[in-house]
Symmetry: C4
Subunit: 184 residues, 4 copies
C-alpha cells in the first residue's frame, strides 16, 4: 500500500500539453517535481518507521489492525494534497490553502501513527524498549506547518514538510553512529 501510494504520486506531475513549448513548460513545472520528492520521501520514512514499529510489536490484535488501517487511509490519500500543492504552486495563487490541506493530511497521519504507538505502549505489546521521542517530531512539526500555512507563511510550511522528511531519514543514521560509538 505504501508502495502503491508512492508510485501514484507520479500523477501529480502533469504531462505538458502537446502544443506547449516543452522546455519552458517543463521548467515551469518545478513545483510539481518538488512536491513529488517531498511526498515520496515522506511516504518512504513513514514506511520505514511503520515497518520498524510493526516489527517490534509482539502481536497485531484487532484494535491495532484497525488503527493501522486508519494510518493507511491517511497515507493513501497523500497523492491528493500533493497534486493540490503542485497545481497551486504552479498556478501562483492559493498556495497557502494548498499547503494547509497538505499539512492537515500529514497531521492526521502523525496522529494515526501516534495512536498506534500509544496503544501498543499501553498494552505492553512492544518487545523492545520503544522511545516515543522520535515520533513526537512529526507530531509537532506538521501541526505547526499547518498553522503557519493558515497565516500565509506557506514557504516556511513547505520547508518544514521537507525538513521533517529529511530529519526522519537522518535520525536513524545518527542513532546507529551513536550506538556504534558507545559500544567501542
Amino acid at each position: 500500500m505504501f508502495a502503491v501510494a508512492a508510485t501514484l504520486l507520479v500523477f501529480s506531475i502533469p504531462t505538458p500539453d502537446a502544443h506547449a513549448a516543452l522546455s519552458a513548460a517543463l521548467l515551469a513545472e518545478w513545483p510539481s517535481y518538488a512536491a513529488y520528492v517531498i511526498s515520496f520521501l515522506t511516504i518512504l520514512v513513514i514506511w520505514l518507521n511503520h515497518h520498524a514499529v510493526l516489527d517490534s510489536i509482539r502481536t497485531l490484535d484487532r484494535p491495532l489492525l484497525l488503527l493501522n488501517g486508519i494510518l493507511l487511509m491517511t497515507v493513501a490519500v497523500i497523492p491528493f494534497p500533493t497534486s493540490l500543492l503542485a497545481r497551486y504552486l504552479m498556478a501562483g495563487h492559493y498556495q497557502s490553502t494548498a499547503a494547509f490541506a497538505y499539512g492537515l493530511t500529514m497531521s492526521g497521519m502523525a496522529v494515526a501513527f501516534t495512536l498506534i504507538n500509544i496503544y501498543a505502549k499501553l498494552r505492553h505489546l512492544f518487545t523492545t524498549p520503544f522511545s516515543l521521542l522520535g515520533f513526537s517530531t512529526g507530531q509537532l512539526s506538521y501541526p505547526l506547518a499547518t498553522v503557519l500555512a493558515l497565516f500565509n507563511y506557506y514557504q516556511v510550511a513547505l520547508v518544514i514538510f521537507a525538513a521533517t522528511a529529511i530529519f526522519y531519514m537522518v535520525l536513524p543514521l545518527l542513532r546507529e553512529r551513536l550506538l556504534r560509538e558507545s559500544s567501542t
Copy 2:
C-alpha cells in the same frame, strides 16, 4: 489487490481546477472525502474479514480460487461507484441513482463473499468452527440500502453504507472483549 483498490480510491477526489477559489472548492468537495472514507473503511473490513476467512480454510481448491477471483472483481470495481457517488453528491442531483449503483456493487461483493463461506462450509474446509452470523449483516444491509436508494432515500442508504463498515470494525472488538471476559 485490496491495497491497490483502496489506494486508487484517492482518484475519486477531484483536484480543483487551477483557476478555482481553492478554499471554497475544497469545502464543496466534502462528499468526495466522505465517499473516500466510507469506501476505504469498507475495503479495509472486507480485507480483514477475507484474511480471517482464508486463514481458517484448510486448502484453497480451484472452485474456491475462482469464487475468490469473483470477490476480487467486485472489490476492484469499488473505485467506480465511489467516484460516481462523490461526483453526483457534489453535483447535487441523481444522488439516489449513484447510491443505487454503489449499493448494487456492495451487494454483489456481499454475495461473492457469502458464496465463498457457503462453499467452504459445505466442503468442510473450515479448520475452526465458523459462524456465518457476522457475514449475514452485510448480506442484509447492502441490499436494503440499495432498495432504499431506489426509492430516493439516498441519505438513509449512505448512513447504512457507513454503519455497515463501522459495524464490521467494532464487531471483532466486542467479540474479543466477550472472549476475555468469559475466560476470566
Copy 3:
C-alpha cells in the same frame, strides 16, 4: 503485477459527466462493464495458470525470467485494449478495429505464455508431467478471434474472448472431477 493490472481495469469504465442523466448514462455504459468483466476474468485465469506453471517449474533461470517479463508486459497492457473496446462499443463504430486490437494483445499474451511452456519443456524444468494441451486453446482461440474481427465479425470475436476465459475457469474443475472419479 497481475493484481495491479486487474485493478487498473476499473479505469476503463468512464464516470459519466456530472450533467448527464445518470440512469441512462449508466445503462448506455454496459459495454464497458462487459469489457471489464471479460478482461478481469481473463487476467484472473492467466494469473492462476501462471501460478500453476511457475509452481511446477524446478528453477527460474534467467531466460525464463525474461520470457516471464515479456508475458507480464503483455498482461500489463491489457487495460489499454480494454478501454479501447469499451469506448468504441459505446460509441457504436469501429468496434471491429477495437476487437482486433484486443485480440492482438491477447494473442501476444498467449504466445508469451507458450514460449515459457516450450522453453521449460525443452530444458526439462517441469517437476511434474505437464500437458501443453490446455494452453493450446488460447493459442488457437485468440488468433482466430483476431482474424474474425478483421473481417468485421466483432460480435463473434467478443463471444470467443469471453468463452476462452470461461473455458479456462471451468477446465480445472472438470479435471479435478475426472481425477476424483478415476481415483474411486
Copy 4:
C-alpha cells in the same frame, strides 16, 4: 513498487478519442507503444538487477534502505518521462527535449543504483564477489544519450535507451553460457 510503476506505464498510451478514425489513430500512436516497450523492459531489467544485488547483500542497514528508497523514487517517476516521450514523438516536435528529460531520469536512476553498489562494496556487505562492470554500462550509456538528445540527436538517444535495456537482458544469458562452458 517495480510492478506498480511498470503497470502504470500503460497510461502513457492514450486511448483515441471516440470520434477518431480508429485504425489511423492507432497506427499514429506507434511511438507510445515503442515508449511503453522500452520503459517496461528497462524497469524489468532494473527490477531483476536490483533483486540480484539485494540478494547478494548480507544485511540491509539504514543507509542502504535510504539509498534504496532514492532508487525507488527514480523508478516510480519513469511513467512521467515515458508519457512525455510518447506524446511529443506523436506530436512530431520537441522530441529532443522529451528524450533529454527521459535520459535525465534514467541517468538519475543509474546514479542511485551505483550509489547502492559503491556503499555496499565499501562496507563489505556483499556476500559474493560482485563486479561493478555490468552496472557501469548504464552509468555511461544514459548520460551519453542525454547529452546527445541535448544536441538534437534524439533518434540516436532512443536507440541507446532501447539498446541499454536489451544489453541488460542479454548480458546475464551470455554470462551463464560462459559459466557453463568454462565448467565443462
